[in-house]
Subunit: 458 residues, 3 copies
Amino acid sequence: MKSSFLLCLVLALAMTTVSPAFAADPAGDVTLAEDPNAPVNFTWTLIAAFLVFLMQGGFAMLEGGLVRAKNVSNIMMKNLSDFAIGSLGFWAIGFPLMFGTSVAGIFGASKWLLTGEAYDVSTYLLWIFQMVFAGTAATIASGAMAERTKFRTYYIISFIITSLIYPVYGHWVWGGGWLSTLPFGLGHVDFAGSGVVHMVGGGAGLAGALLLGARIGKYDKDGKPRAIPGHSISMVMLGVFLLWFGWFGFNPGSTLAATELRISIIAVTTLLAGSAGGVAATLYTWKKFGRPDVTMAGNGVIAGLVAITAPSAWVEAWAAVVIGLAAGFIMVESVLLFERKGVDDPIGAISCHLIAGIWGLISVGIFADGTYGLYTTEAPMVVGLLYGGGVGQLVAQVIGVAANFAWVFGTSYSILWVLKKTLGLRVSKEEELVGLDLSEHGAVGYPYFVSRPEERSE
Amino acid sequence: MKSSFLLCLVLALAMTTVSPAFAADPAGDVTLAEDPNAPVNFTWTLIAAFLVFLMQGGFAMLEGGLVRAKNVSNIMMKNLSDFAIGSLGFWAIGFPLMFGTSVAGIFGASKWLLTGEAYDVSTYLLWIFQMVFAGTAATIASGAMAERTKFRTYYIISFIITSLIYPVYGHWVWGGGWLSTLPFGLGHVDFAGSGVVHMVGGGAGLAGALLLGARIGKYDKDGKPRAIPGHSISMVMLGVFLLWFGWFGFNPGSTLAATELRISIIAVTTLLAGSAGGVAATLYTWKKFGRPDVTMAGNGVIAGLVAITAPSAWVEAWAAVVIGLAAGFIMVESVLLFERKGVDDPIGAISCHLIAGIWGLISVGIFADGTYGLYTTEAPMVVGLLYGGGVGQLVAQVIGVAANFAWVFGTSYSILWVLKKTLGLRVSKEEELVGLDLSEHGAVGYPYFVSRPEERSE
Amino acid sequence: MKSSFLLCLVLALAMTTVSPAFAADPAGDVTLAEDPNAPVNFTWTLIAAFLVFLMQGGFAMLEGGLVRAKNVSNIMMKNLSDFAIGSLGFWAIGFPLMFGTSVAGIFGASKWLLTGEAYDVSTYLLWIFQMVFAGTAATIASGAMAERTKFRTYYIISFIITSLIYPVYGHWVWGGGWLSTLPFGLGHVDFAGSGVVHMVGGGAGLAGALLLGARIGKYDKDGKPRAIPGHSISMVMLGVFLLWFGWFGFNPGSTLAATELRISIIAVTTLLAGSAGGVAATLYTWKKFGRPDVTMAGNGVIAGLVAITAPSAWVEAWAAVVIGLAAGFIMVESVLLFERKGVDDPIGAISCHLIAGIWGLISVGIFADGTYGLYTTEAPMVVGLLYGGGVGQLVAQVIGVAANFAWVFGTSYSILWVLKKTLGLRVSKEEELVGLDLSEHGAVGYPYFVSRPEERSE
């Protein structure tokens, strides 16, 4: 039985840690004596982490609202499970790979299981903030793969994203790895994770969507896409608001310190880029389709937020508005393009996270205004093209985009391909038609309401 | 095309700001050196702002739950859009009008676009806190105008509320304008915005509801009102809890400083007034109708919270209970009165925000106990009638109420009247009957559930 | 009329407090002068309290989703009302009983109505943090009693839990009462309330469920239990995420001080135990029933969180995983056992809160690792069996479990028994069949959707 095995493993590992004297500072008194600002910085970082955690609920609502009623329990379960199993993976393996002592700039290798020298208030603080980021990356993929992926396979790939794919790339950028030391600009920089989190989630989602193929009924006999609307717009919009709320932890919290007063500027750029993305998607769909599209407006906010994530600390308000407007426009075009190309992404995760994430990384090389450095005012300033920084930073950003896509898409596609050939990736046709709630979990999401007898997409 | 125009405008403005040397303190190191308490005060104010932001989601749920299922996408879109477009307006025009250098105490005129001298950590901090307040005022109006207002017109009026109506009144009270310098009491005072935010939103909503007229089916042939229940009580109650949660940012956060330890007292008065409002509405409807009314109980909490917003920092626990109980009672009576008078307010926004807001402003002049001043312990104390302060403060409060209503209702009514005569304010009868989801956005909120064939209200 | 009586009572009490000079520090300047860390500790504690408050919304969603559609308005109303009326009770009576000057270690008796000497920033800070805990205990009971309890009786018992049952037990553990001074280990310890909050709520719920009896249709003619699924899995899962989010205030916030940097470790143990509980319930139901059960997975997270609440500050990461895994497993078995034994608990509150709460208290005596003391690094360390602490702490924990159950179950059962014989506890058969929304409040939760004509459980 899996759970008893896991329990035994944990107990065995645990036993090895009971006896030794504790290194580091598990009580916090030593850290406090050394740094009188530690309480406010811990407060700031922890609360930011909690807000980011709530994005799990936001994604559950966004993705849940955008699937059909017959798949809602399944997507809820996936959103809960990728975080639950992923956090155990990130505890045991992922965090050490990302933030352990670097092996040649490729991956880390220490701080296993948060025990021994890692049993320390500062290490645990870093862990929880990074964990909720890893959880975000993992949960993004579930959207692109919604309504047809086997739960068993999804459970495994979630564990692998959080334990391996995400942390290794994260090490390259945030763990002192090779991308952070590129000889262009200040090396590849990504303030809060347009690349580390969103491109990773979106890239894995793209691999999944390609290997899965489109949902039954998504394309007609001539290959023309048909709309498959989600089952609850109110859930979708609640999701957007919860995500936006969580993003105020995501971006400003990434200073890990309230003594960096730049946090107020990061909060403002985050707000404005989200708004601008929403406005752009609203106005553009209004013009293009004759009506302002509600789902697109919500996704426009998400795209604006994804795009501002990398540059949020290095640009001023007007640039955030420009970045957000562009992201909203790009997202709408991208959704339509992927749909035309036969890539069926039920919630638009690829466009919102992968594509807008790329734009976010690039935008650092253009708009960074040279007033702030790498997480501190004392480091060298990040400067983009518009502010006399030359093309160096832009080059570093492009290299990061390429490395991210190559690693994430490459590993995700390979692993999912193996899983497809072994465990299987997609449910059967019958299971898909009846809905994954019944076929995978034996229980529908809304047993007391009458469904429309024929769903037009089938 | 609107979006390209907006993009060009932003880019043009942006270009003018690329070259100049930065005034102020965009990195925050100067501010930190001057004020060692800045980190904790920034932390407090930012997190409070984030909580207030989440009230957008709370209003979306509350309003969404209280409309019929056929209008849910539309109200979601309005709640998202008023914030998104409103934040661009508050960035460009609203904030400068409210907090720029005062022109004769009437309006401000500097800090445009948060650039130049406004590119400063303290200015951005103030902006985000004020922005989420402005967004709250804007979104309140959508409720009173729900289920029949054209999206296009609503989009425009939202922009105007956030860019003009709200900031000018805000300048009078919080920007150093004429109401704050009245020669009675300490001038008109409004700790966290019973007037500045709630009366403004409610007053604009009243203007809209009057110009729109009642929904089809709201009154029978004899003019007797008929109940049109909302479509989801669970959404309504989620909205109430999210709003209450956000209110803990709204009121205690308004100190803008955690060094004001009065924040704990403000949090307690906020909690108790909300509870008391809920209890009063529950018991009063129980007695009056024979059953405790669920929606009224939720609105009772909101009314209690609106009422305590102005006095929250200046009263002790028992007074908060009294203010909240009265607010719950007043709200129920007000809802029934407006309904009898033919003013159709689908969610009770006028009663919860305008009427309870008036009571909140007045209550300062009665219950303020002289233990705390204007946002600091070092200012003169606010004292009401019951504590030997005489009628001075009460007079200042009444003048503020009158000025608020005159300005907000006057401008809202005038502008909406012009919009009604030009773009049109209300959808056609056919569009209203089919629902705004289909007619305005081409997509229903819940496509997979079977609706009741006849809605009794039509 | 009840509300006018309450109003009069409050006003009468209030009048007595208008004149006296204020003791203590209502403005906060004295406290600030004495403790330069007060701002960051107030910030930490208040925001933690706000997060705990949001658990009210989380419970509303969890319980709301798990009842049938015909009872959703009623459970929403109960969740709102137990907090609203309960907070008035905790203000007037509960807090003084819990934290007033101790009378022989049995109950407290001062600080009435938060007035006089209690009108102080530190006292109000403690009050709000404790109030949201009391509210959590009260709202847990509503789940076990769902779908058949009279609203009137529930209103009364909620008031009694918050005013009497909870505070007296709370005094024994957190108010300096007799359990905290037991001569075993460091006395009975309960960091954030596995016992004080969760066992209390679950114990009261058990008393209620026993006195109520099972819902109509829960058992077939042979006494075999039948599943009565909830009406919305998306609400359930939103509830789980909101509760988890709130728990990050519940556990780490219980230091009441950010100067205790141990808060980062508490946050991590809280996250991991929740995840482990979810994973255990997922894998165990997968093995047992052949499919991963969605509702059980959500309840597994809750059980893990309940269990880690008591030990969260005293264990390291691996122990949190073990405690959470065990809690998830225990919860599933407990749900099935209570169901077999005829105790009908519609949302699993007894298993998640009472049973997992017992496990949490016990686990302190096993896994506490001796690196942290009672809310401070300067107190003696809490040490369990595995770390050479002997059985002393374990004995103190077991005594606490017994005392908790005896007091809570005893008083709840007695009071509910009296209420049953006087006002009545359960609605009539006809009312239960038609649903409590219509029979108790005259309004259904979702008036525009078509229900399934026959609910199989009736």
